[in-house]
């Protein structure tokens, strides 16, 4: 990765965090899912800035890569990166959580805006991804399916049902990423999956663990071809609320309501980063 590329991705991630902060502040008492949005900012930035084969001018193109946001509560980060890539306008982004908006807390399927599924209830994205990956196999299409999961989301049994299917159907055109920030709504390690790597490895996945905030490391793993007949899983080691030193990895930021002081303080820190 050259320097200009790295700078582009860093700017994209910074923009995601600034947008998420702004949207959360503007939402007032309704707040926003800031913690998990910040933990996956680099993952979304590299996917949308480098990895996914997408065309904002032709968002429904049959050969586009499918990106499925399974941890749907971070839709605000997704909206930001979709705006950054020109799938939605800044005006549309600004309607986040407004009454009647097409961009509520949890996203709604809208292929022409680059949104592949409706999400918000956890645990379904991997099954849907198995479906889109199977479709590519049936129709001999070359697109790849990417699914972004939360680690808390992996408490849902349906994730493990889908994982078995991905292996059985030999989906080497499927990559799941776990935003492993070690927290869910109630805090740290509420129901940790012991040895995520080992579990997915035993299931038959091609497993990679990576620093989820490091673009070079992420790029290396994303660029690796899937092992033949094998779905890939990237366990991205991340920090909840990453990007603001005072709250990184702290509890209480899964869903945030921001006061003026914190908002300004956080914005200043992000702008300087």
């Amino acid at each position: 990765m050259n320097e200009s590329e790295l700078k582009y991705l860093k700017d994209l991630a910074k923009k995601i965090r600034l947008d998420v902060l702004e949207m959360t502040f503007k939402a007032g008492a309704d707040g926003g899912h800031l913690g998990g949005a910040f933990s996956c900012a680099e993952i979304l930035a590299i996917l949308y800035g480098k990895i996914l084969r997408l065309d904002p001018k032709n968002p429904a193109h049959d050969d586009r890569d499918r990106f499925i946001l399974s941890k749907g509560h971070v839709a605000l980060a997704h909206y930001s990166v979709l705006a950054g890539r020109g799938f939605i306008t800044r005006d549309e982004l600004n309607t986040f959580e407004e009454s009647g908006s097409d961009f509520p807390t949890h996203e709604i399927i809208n292929i022409n805006k680059g949104i592949e599924t409706s999400s918000g209830s956890l645990g379904y994205g991997l099954s849907i991804g198995v479906g889109t990956a199977l479709n590519a196999k049936i129709k001999s299409k070359n697109y790849h399916t990417f699914v972004l999961l939360g680690d808390g989301e992996c408490n849902e049994g349906s994730i493990w049902e889908a994982a078995q299917s991905a292996v059985k159907f030999k989906l080497d055109n499927l990559t799941a990423i776990i935003d492993h920030n070690k927290q869910s709504l109630d805090g740290k390690n509420i129901m940790p999956v012991k040895n995520l790597e080992g579990v997915f490895n035993n299931l038959g996945f091609d497993v990679h663990t990576v620093d989820g905030h490091n673009f070079e490391a992420l790029e290396k793993i994303f660029m690796l071809e899937n092992k033949s007949d094998c779905p890939k899983i990237i366990i991205a080691d991340t920090l909840k609320a990453k990007g603001i030193k005072a709250i990184e990895g702290q509890e209480g930021w899964h869903h945030a309501r921001l006061n003026q002081t914190d908002y300004e303080k956080f914005r200043e820190e992000l702008e300087k980063s």
Binding site: T132, E161, A162, S165
Partner: protein, 330 residues
């Protein structure tokens, strides 16, 4: 409705379907449909043999997926495929495919408006002695609260063929409720002339109207024949489309008959009786009385299919008695 029909209601086909019963006829019929509509994909949660899909799976392996015992995953995979313009049929036993997978169905089929047809095998009391885990007496009730979901329940295997043919052309979410015992003769003798969304007379009658859904309509017809001997004339209507419901015909029925009975192999709340009573409650002028026949609010003691119908007031004799007694009280 497609103009050229795929299924032929020949004596040979009728015999084969009747012998197979509703659930295994599904696989036999889907095999025929996939030959005509290349876009069909079938998914099962480990019940290929119970749904008649074994031959289909052997003939069209690229159009068949067995996801094992994972119903919500099955709905998720179906929706991923449906999103990519495939015409997806999923099946499992009714309680599992409806209740275990309910939220997945709500979000992925209903909310996302995807083209997924859910085939609920052996609903009602079809699984007889297997007990309450395997009965399905709630599916109409829970499915009809999902926007964008259509619900059908054929009266017999002939109507099942007609509905499946309709569903193969329909682009959207639908739930097909299959009931009854294998080998039970149907009520239709030839093309059932299925019209999606229509409540249709199976038998004319002037004193009371029985509205029924699913294979239990057989019992209603037998009850109406028995009542005829007592000079009670019963109309029998087939509600094979439960959603969207044919309120226009229902309004006519409510205007014409002083007493309406609903009969269903389902809990008494929320199903067909619920649909009809909600409608009648909204009428400005009530001309007719409604009596709902169905399973009361308790888990019934398990037994054979015939035993379950009898114990829950759903066999011909009990239906006839209920109607006779209700008229006497009038």
């Amino acid at each position: 409705m497609s103009m050229s029909k795929i299924f032929e209601y020949t004596p040979e086909n009728i015999t084969a379907w009747t012998r197979a019963g509703m659930r295994k006829s599904f696989g036999i019929m889907l095999e025929r449909l996939v030959e005509c509509n290349k876009n069909i994909i079938a998914i099962t949660a480990d019940v290929a043999s119970s749904s008649g899909l074994k031959d289909y799976a052997a003939k069209f392996p690229e159009r068949f997926f067995n996801v094992g015992i994972s119903e919500q995953n099955m709905i998720g995979i179906a929706c991923g495929l449906a999103k990519e313009d495939n015409n997806v049929f999923v099946c499992s036993f009714a309680p599992f495919v409806s209740m275990r997978a309910y939220e997945a169905i709500k979000i992925l089929a209903g909310y996302m408006k995807l083209n997924v047809k859910i085939i609920a095998l052996s609903s009602g009391f079809s699984l007889g002695v297997q007990g309450n885990t395997h009965y399905c007496l709630e599916d109409i009730s829970i499915m009809r609260t999902i926007p964008n979901m259509k619900i059908f329940a054929p009266a017999d295997v002939l109507e099942e063929a007609a509905i499946l043919e309709y569903l193969s052309d329909y682009d959207g979410a639908a739930f097909l409720r299959l009931t009854g015992l294998d080998g039970t003769p149907g009520i239709f003798k030839s093309d059932p002339d299925f019209d999606a969304g229509k409540l249709k007379f199976i038998r004319e009658g002037s004193d009371v109207a029985i509205i029924a859904s699913g294979s239990v309509i057989n019992e209603c017809i037998r009850a109406s024949r028995a009542l005829k001997r007592d000079n009670i004339s019963c109309a029998v209507l087939n509600a094979s489309t439960l959603k969207p419901f044919d309120y226009e015909t229902l309004k006519n029925i409510a205007d014409t008959y002083g007493i309406i009975f609903t009969v269903e192999e389902h809990f008494i709340s929320g199903g067909l009786g619920g649909i009809v009573s909600e409608f009648l409650a909204g009428l400005d002028e009530k001309k007719s009385r409604l009596i709902r026949i169905g399973v009361s609010d308790e888990f019934p003691t398990a037994g054979t299919y015939a035993y379950m119908l009898e114990r829950n007031g759903l066999n011909a004799e009990n239906i006839a008695n209920k109607i006779k007694n209700s008229l006497a009280k009038k």
